[in-house]
Symmetry: C2
Subunit: 221 residues, 2 copies
């Protein structure tokens, strides 16, 4: 609320502008309907917190380089894919004040677009031989989907303790933020201690974000 996102972005403003061109290119498809949808997704783009964290983490630990851009593209493609899949998952018909892809094109298309974005992210990482980014990201996807399922299971039983709540949000929300920070660091240093510290930082940040989000939700319900 109080601290402006522009102020946070300031140290990596130039890189973010370059990144946007990068990312637009990365989403291109030969299928016209796919192109129309990804264009629409880019239009309603959010705060780009995750790429910002990739660039900030990289700059903090070393010198931003092409591998940092790959990490940022990969994280943002993955995040976008999971948002599109979340639209199915939550049956959400509005997102960020726009109608969701799901509402406009239905579940069928949402799943396909999500899968397409995942595969594009993969190919970018493979083509540039950034295998460590891929490993970080696949781990995040595994944790996220397990966390969501854990939530479904536990929510049904109505017996969530604080520990279980922390487990769930650590997996479903914090793991991608953690991956963003770690991948940023990994793009500039091979020091595993530093990379793991950045993962932990991102994990705490992601959990704080989710706690705040859940508190606001329960205040408004």
């Amino acid at each position: 609320m109080s601290i402006s996102i522009d102020k946070i972005k300031e140290p990596v403003k130039g890189e973010l502008l370059d990144f946007e061109k990068h990312f637009r290119e990365a989403m291109k498809s030969s299928a016209p309907l796919m192109d129309k949808i990804t264009y629409y997704i880019i239009q309603k783009k959010g705060k780009q917190i995750r790429p910002v964290l990739v660039f900030l983490s990289a700059k903090m630990c070393g010198t931003i380089n092409p591998s940092t851009y790959v990490a940022a593209s990969l994280i943002e493609l993955l995040h976008t894919a999971t948002l599109v899949h979340d639209d199915v998952v939550d049956d959400a018909y509005m997102r960020r004040g726009f109608f969701s892809v799901n509402a406009l094109w239905k579940n069928k298309v949402a799943v396909l677009v999500g899968d397409y974005l995942l595969s594009k992210g993969l190919l970018i990482a493979l083509d540039s031989q950034n295998y460590n980014h891929l490993h970080t990201l696949s781990t995040a996807v595994r944790l996220m989907s397990e966390g969501e399922l854990l939530q479904i299971e536990k929510a049904r039983k109505l017996d969530i303790t604080e520990d279980v709540y922390f487990d769930i949000i650590r997996q479903k929300t914090a793991s991608l933020i953690a991956a963003a920070c770690k991948a940023g660091a990994a793009s500039v240093t091979e020091n595993l201690d530093v990379q793991n510290q950045l993962w932990l930082f991102g994990e705490k940040l992601g959990m704080a974000f989710q706690i705040k989000d859940d508190l606001f939700k329960s205040l408004n319900s």
Copy 2:
């Protein structure tokens, strides 16, 4: 119909038995609900045409080795993930005579399980450093999702020519079969000509399969 699947499997029977243990292990999750669902998916497993093609292609071009098993696991995880996602996509409530995952646990879970399986496949390939398999597979996923979207777009316009039909089935069905044959070959030989020939063989086989499937569907409707 007339040629028995057992006869086709015969040359790689032993490898398929080993593979099944492999695959069961690969699907394991720390989330109990995830485990329950993947167990259910394994129970109603299909003909395993894709792993069979991986092993046959490998045996035809060289000597089956651990990389062949990785390729087979990867292809089958991916195929299972796309089946689970297809259940959302097609709103299909029956598959192979069983109720689909979607019908039992709804879209929410189907998307998550599909994503989980994709990430598990990724991690297996990354951990064993089988990057070329990953490249083959990501290309297949990209082609499949684009092909499905192309079909949605074209079907709406009701102006499908034979060429467009072939384009669609080449992408949406044949690319994963092609990937299975190519990955099998790639696990035993570095000869790119041979690998590409196997891709083309799988592509023709996949297209033939889809044409037969579409013909039966139109005969029954």
